[in-house]
């Protein structure tokens, strides 16, 4: 798994490449929380287009980061979820409560 981020204006977009399971989610959580805390961007996106595997630990990761963003006042969104990520979001109905940006 690989994580990074890019900031443009008031928006920071983090990306996760590879497999999100419980093992990798622990690492991803620390990395994403550091970005959210240090940058506290107005908009924080998580690009999931490069996610090749995702189980419900990925859902927990997304739900946890939503709460984290609320504490620093960032508005969070998901960007271009891969098929593996998308069906996890759908199973929990999170595709309805979460902002999902597609394209670009």
């Amino acid at each position: 798994m690989e994580i990074g981020c890019k900031t443009e204006g008031n928006t920071t977009v983090a990306y996760i490449l590879g497999e999100i399971d419980h093992h990798n989610a622990v690492t991803a959580r620390a990395a994403l929380d550091e970005m959210i805390e240090q940058l506290a961007p107005i908009r924080f996106g998580i690009d999931l287009s490069g996610v090749t595997f995702c189980d419900s630990s990925g859902l927990g990761l997304v739900m946890g980061r939503m709460r984290k963003c609320q504490t620093v006042g960032s508005s969070m969104f998901i960007k271009n979820p891969s098929a593996a990520a998308e069906r996890m979001l759908a199973i929990a109905g999170m595709d309805r409560i979460l902002k999902i940006e597609r394209g670009k």
Partner: protein, 148 residues
Amino acid sequence: MSERITNVMKTEFAAKSINEAYARSAVAAFAALCDPSVSVIADIKTVVSEAVTNAIVHGYAGFENKQECIVSVLCKMTEGNKLIIRIKDKGRGIEDVHTAMQPLYTTDTDGERSGMGFTVMQSFTDAIRVRSTPGKGTVVTLEKRLKR
């Protein structure tokens, strides 16, 4: 009448999170011998990951020597290409299985678990059975038809 078993695989490993990837890959490799579709393989990887993660995170929660805590995964293939996967731990067990299986139910206090593991296992398989004894451990049996 139960179907005739044509192949069997068993693997056992320490209850460490790094083995989650090993477990789902091992079962996927066994399933691949029947040449299922890519989406069926993805379902199998996901459900194995859920059950094995539960054994590690919940079953053996609070156990000290993780390398001595063993998760076992037994796979059986039937004549009709049905894969039966049994994931077993000798951990804490579950007091109330029915409640544990409800969507969004979790006993995690860290806020990092979604409570959707059993729901995912139910949605991506044809059958699920959970047998658990508090203080003794948990056995989750999943069935997935690989081909019609």
